[in-house]
Subunit: 170 residues, 3 copies
């Protein structure tokens, strides 16, 4: 079968199929204190443990950041690479750039007692993801060889809360 | 337990767990006429209402844009910040930049009667998301304090259709 | 009902609702050999076929790349546009740029026998998605008129594996 643009062939492989199983919905939070920005916190093992405890044999896990200045990303956990990623993120929207959101003389909306100038963190978040959804096969995350799940802190160090929401069947 | 890169501790908190409940799948569309670009339309309350009417106590809602030049994003609804985000989006792929997609003298594929030069909107969309998936806890979207769901218009004003697809248990 | 920023009206349309149906979870892999980078491989028809064979009448399909240097994106399949998208991707993180990840004199982690200098591909992936989740309505992907699903190769040609994970009800 021909593919557009390139004559790439695609081969289908059956992985798993469960029909009529007992539905499972299971949600836990991961709470952490971040220490800098941009910071990559590898939460893969913790997510894997929650998936195992959920009792779901197949389905999916959505890893969701409850924050507008902390993101979820899947990439490789290689320390030099994480330096590259941090540099690229900081270039898109530099911490010392000009942001209307940081103009507290004009801003009236969502002004918090601890409000900090964090326009750069919101703008960096625009290009990243609030969540990632990962298939569950045989009760485990179906991650590829190099894939790790990161919470990415973009703002100043603070407490962060990530939801791990499993939807599937036993 | 030590984390890579930083010695961040992660604490687990049980949120909700439902096993054996009655499965719920519920889908509605939100239809709107946009007015400019980039434009951020806050659809959070409408999505929240659909989730409430779905009857799902837990599970997740996927908010899906049916368009290649309108995106879904979760961020803060602060008017000055939305100006920052609009500026950043316009810088990635400027409306008056050069795009092969706009060369109607050479283009033969997907030529519509109302075809407009919108290469910039497709290129901006490359960095944004077609959908966002949000956990449902106790029949409500589990959004953090500042999180709001936006339909982001990148192209000329027109009718747009967003699907809100709930998958969970009663 | 008024919307923030613009007085946009949103109209709700019921699409589908299934309660108490038999749960379906179905997962297949699509395996392919890519040929260049950046390369867009349109996998829409193959995903559509897997959804049809899953037996799910409603729910959702998550299309998941098992790789840190190959992404999933939904956009239009117009050949000139794909040239624009490839150019923009190559500009974010150029193949001949400087990446710490490529410094094999210092790097000690995740060194593979076939290790290649691919820092650019990881950095490009930061802005793209590992997965996309698409609603299923009446047993079919609920894609808009111009939406096509692409596997995007960012690294050298190689074998790639995409999971299509359906969660829904019969």
């Amino acid at each position: 079968m021909e593919r557009t643009l390139t004559d790439v062939m695609l081969r289908r492989e059956r992985v798993t199929s469960a029909s009529g199983g007992e539905p499972v919905v299971h949600c836990e939070a991961l709470v952490t204190e971040t220490t800098s920005a941009p910071e990559f916190i590898d939460i893969t093992e913790d997510v894997e443990r929650i998936v195992a405890d959920s009792g779901a044999g197949s389905g999916q896990a959505t890893v969701f950041s409850g924050h507008t200045t902390a993101a979820i990303k899947v990439n490789e956990n290689e320390p030099l690479l994480l330096q590259d990623l941090a540099r690229i993120i900081s270039q898109i929207a530099p911490v010392h750039g000009e942001y209307e959101h940081n103009d507290f003389s004009r801003r009236t909306v969502n002004m918090d007692e601890e409000e900090c100038a964090n326009g750069h963190a919101h703008c960096q978040h625009l290009f990243l993801s609030t969540s990632e959804t990962i298939p569950i096969i045989d009760g485990r995350l179906a991650l590829g060889q190099w894939q790790r799940i990161f919470l990415v802190e973009l703002d100043r160090p603070r407490q962060r809360r990530v939801l791990v929401n499993v939807v599937g069947v036993r």
